[in-house]
């Protein structure tokens, strides 16, 4: 599962051009073979680009008896992402189980340290491994891809400790490959912006609470409803919301009338002050701000 429970690093960047069709299809065939060799699989399914593609291929390779996608829901999981996950599952008949995860009640997680994702993933995989055993599924996998491997991802350690496998990364799938293969198969997620967990909007050290997460989610939904497409993040700086949108959109939303609409939308979500970042969206923005490598 790459998102939303994953760390927000620079994972969404496409680090290379999409490789040729032959290479892509050969890689997909290797993925199918990998999955068949695993015999039966439980996937941590977020509904993001990577896990949606993996869910589709795994379901094709293994069928409904030997494959299960599990959504871990909590206050840090964006509702929009859940809707996307359900949409994919419903369209392709993918068997899905939903469980509630409880990372916010883990004091170590809620304190929001730099390695917050480690505690979240420990909770998630700690729930999914017994579930896999109960359903007689041999291997637990996530949607981590090869582009993710260079990022700061403390959550990956929790996956390793729990024996979670990452077939997309192991077989060299880059983000751009997954988007292209998803596009060819008509998956609605192929062009979806990355959607990491809502806690990634809180600077490290700011306690993660359901109220703060709801504030961020409400604000982002309000911004999207204004018609802003692409990446949107509302970073929570106490009473101040700092909005990041794609660079090409910024100028238009600094026109006074539209800036006023933006301000009003975010104030309604519970922020007293609203600021627009002049550089715009950047993945891992708070890591940069706090010097986390």
């Amino acid at each position: 599962m790459t998102s939303p429970h994953s760390d927000e690093g620079a994972s969404s960047r496409a680090r290379h051009a999409v490789v040729s069709e032959d290479v892509l299809l050969a890689r997909e065939a290797r993925l199918q073979a990998w999955l068949r060799e695993a015999r039966s699989v439980l996937l941590g399914f977020s509904g993001g680009v990577d896990s949606a593609y993996l869910a589709l291929i795994a379901h094709e390779a293994l069928g409904s008896e030997r494959f299960l996608a599990v959504i871990g829901r909590s206050a840090s999981y964006p509702m929009e992402q859940w809707e996307r996950a359900r949409q994919v599952a419903d369209r392709y008949g993918i068997p899905v189980l939903e469980i509630d995860t409880d990372e916010l009640n883990d004091e170590q997680y809620a304190a929001n340290p730099v390695n917050r994702c480690y505690f979240c993933k420990t909770e998630l995989w700690g729930r999914l491994q017994p579930l896999a055993r109960a359903h007689h599924l041999a291997v637990v996998v996530d949607g981590t891809n090869a582009s993710d491997l260079g990022d700061y991802r403390p959550g990956a350690r929790a996956a390793r400790e729990r024996g979670v496998r990452s077939p997309l990364a192991e077989l060299g799938f880059e983000k751009a490959d997954i988007r292209e293969l998803s596009r060819r198969r008509g998956l609605p997620t192929w062009s979806a912006p990355s959607s990491p967990c809502l806690s990634s909007r809180l600077p490290y050290g700011t306690p993660v609470t359901p109220a703060r997460l709801r504030q961020v989610e409400d604000a982002e939904r309000a911004v999207r409803e204004l018609g802003i497409a692409g990446n949107i993040r509302v970073r929570h700086h106490g009473e101040l919301a700092r909005i990041e949108i794609d660079g090409a959109e910024i100028g238009a939303w600094l026109e006074p009338e539209r800036a006023g609409l933006l301000r009003e939308a975010v104030v309604r979500a519970g922020f007293r002050r609203v600021a627009l970042d002049l550089r715009g969206f950047r993945s891992g923005s708070l890591n940069v701000l706090e010097g986390v490598q």
């Binding site: 100028g251 002050r273 609203v274 701000l289």
Partner: protein
């Protein structure tokens, strides 16, 4: 970071704002008469200045007053 120097250089360039420093985030709080930063070039200049003064992020506060009064300078590239 050097908040005061950043603020001074912005003023010299026709951007009357108060710079609020939140570690390496600079929040520009516009005074009345501050122009809308609709131009790409102007925004890039502001970002470069911010980096020069030690900030990694710069954002402009959308104050109620500024949103209702900010002028869009004709000289700014669209």
């Amino acid at each position: 970071v050097n908040r005061e120097a950043f603020e001074g250089e912005l003023a010299q360039r026709g951007l009357p704002v108060r710079v609020e420093s939140r570690e390496r985030l600079a929040v520009l709080v516009p005074f009345s008469g501050a122009p809308a930063l609709t131009g790409d070039t102007l925004r890039r200049d502001v970002q470069s200045l911010a980096v020069k003064h030690g900030f990694t992020h710069v954002a402009i506060e959308l104050t109620e007053e500024w949103c209702s009064r900010a002028a869009v300078p004709r000289s700014q590239p669209e």
